[in-house]
Amino acid sequence: MSLPTYVQGAWFGGALLFIFGLKGMSSPASARKGIVVAGYGMLLAIAATFLIPGLKNLALMLAALAVGGAAAWISGKKVKMTDMPQMVAIYNGMGGGAAAAIAAIEFARGDAHSTVTTLLAVVGALIGAVSFTGSCVAWAKLQGVLKKAHRLPAQNAVNVVLAAISIGLGAAMVALAPAQPELILGFFVIALVLGLIVTLPIGGADMPVVISLFNAFTGLAVGFEGYVLGNPALIIAGIVVGAAGTLLTQLMAKAMNRPLSNILFTPMVAAGGGEAISGTMKEVGAIDAAAMMRYASKVVIVPGYGMAVAHAQHKVWEMTEILEEAGVEVKFAIHPVAGRMPGHMNVLLAEAGVPYDKIFDLEEINGEFGQADVALVIGANDVVNPSARTDKSSPIYGMPILNADLAQNVIVIKRGKGTGYSGVENALFYTDNCRMLYGDAQPMAGEIIQHLKSMA
């Protein structure tokens, strides 16, 4: 199939735009431009395809484009922000399905191909199909259509057997190419079932990682089918996404503190929906703490004795300055007994050069936590312990506290699970909107600064 130069050239341009688009998307500052650039790449690639001479089934093609595109466009526009992840899953699954379908057509047509080509077609079809049904399950789970985690008795064994069968069938297809329709059908059925079975037992909390994995799969499938079709634009887009997606999957798993293998093979037994992890301390990385604050409009910082111990005040003020430069409103909330002496925090903040008009005491600031996007608690503990309000048996009962828990997000920097002066546990750390950033306050503030700067 020799194509006119302008088609090839347009595809080449598309591939180039994809790469630049993806590059743009990898930094918060340019992310929005990135998707637009990639969008132009897509338009270019599709438009060029129409220019291929002798294209058949044009009406059908337009209809398919219209149906698929419009449905997805509209649903994508309408979906609630919170339901986005499942939409990503389902669109991704469709891409996988398309890749598998392309392979299916090639098989159905039964053209002679080199062994390598057939092999890649089969591999692409397999992972495309798995990604298709797997993504559908992921969607169903996140959407709440599928409520329970369905775990088969010998789940892992079943997975392995199914995978082995599909690989066997695939191998047969390569060996016997062109293969019989029954073989092809069987292969696709098993591959689709495999996607289902593998995904069903995975809990809602792990889903984003799995979706990312399927995303990488689809990318690879597209890349392989691109090879089969002799289309380098597909190859490049697919493989770039495959590689990026694989790395992304690993990063996500790492951020969740769950090795990928754990997620896939020993899924958490999710009680109901995706709420399995409520009631535990949730860790967060400095880069996310930075991003949360960078894109907040109001941040309240609650320093405590730990900031003093860590001598973190200079870093904290530097961080504040960067945030303010980025247009974030930052205030310091000083609890009357923060630290270990009256005015402990004042001494330190003054030393760091924090202007007095950014420092507020409990009465002045407590009403404002509700409007804060982030409350950053730095080495404070007792002074933000909500049980002082309610738990009569607590030694700190009756002490007024800073209402950090009312902020939309709470980030707590402390070294570990240490308690404060009063020696009691802090319920705040276990709440849903609270994230722990473990480490000495000084280097942690330093890391946040570094990340903030890279988001300039």
């Binding site: 595809w11 994809f18 688009g21 993806l22 998307m25 990898s26 930094s27 992310a31 929005r32 990639a38 790449g41 897509m42 690639a45 599709i46 129409f50 089934n57 093609m61 698929g68 595109g69 997805a72 466009w73 994508g76 986005m84 669109y91 991704n92 469709m94 891409g95 392309i102 299916a104 057509i105 159905a108 047509r109 390598v116 984003p208 995303n215 597209v222 890349g223 089918e225 079709l229 002799g230 289309n231 380098p232 634009a233 190859i235 887009a237 697919g238 493989i239 770039v240 996404v241 495959g242 590689a243 990026a244 997606g245 992304l248 990063l251 951020a255 990385g285 996310d288 991003a291 974030v328």
Partner: protein, 93 residues
Amino acid sequence: MDGLLALYIFMLAAFTGYEIIAKVPVILHTPLMSGSNFIHGVVVVGAMIALGSAETPLEQAIGFFAVALGAANAAGGYVVTERMLAMFKKKEG
């Protein structure tokens, strides 16, 4: 297509993909996943080619299916990503 050259292309593309993602903040994980999801929507081009050369009704059916899915992938991926990234609107400093 020359397998060896394809291998080089795979290698370079993989390297490129890796380099691009190497250091992204976690906050971008989801939009980036969505964005790369959009990009592999280019499969629609492959589907169009396949449909464009489909002869039998079966091929046409699968081809239709493939194009529709691919189009959905591309269109949906774009919209969703675009919306997610709207939150990175530049603030006036």
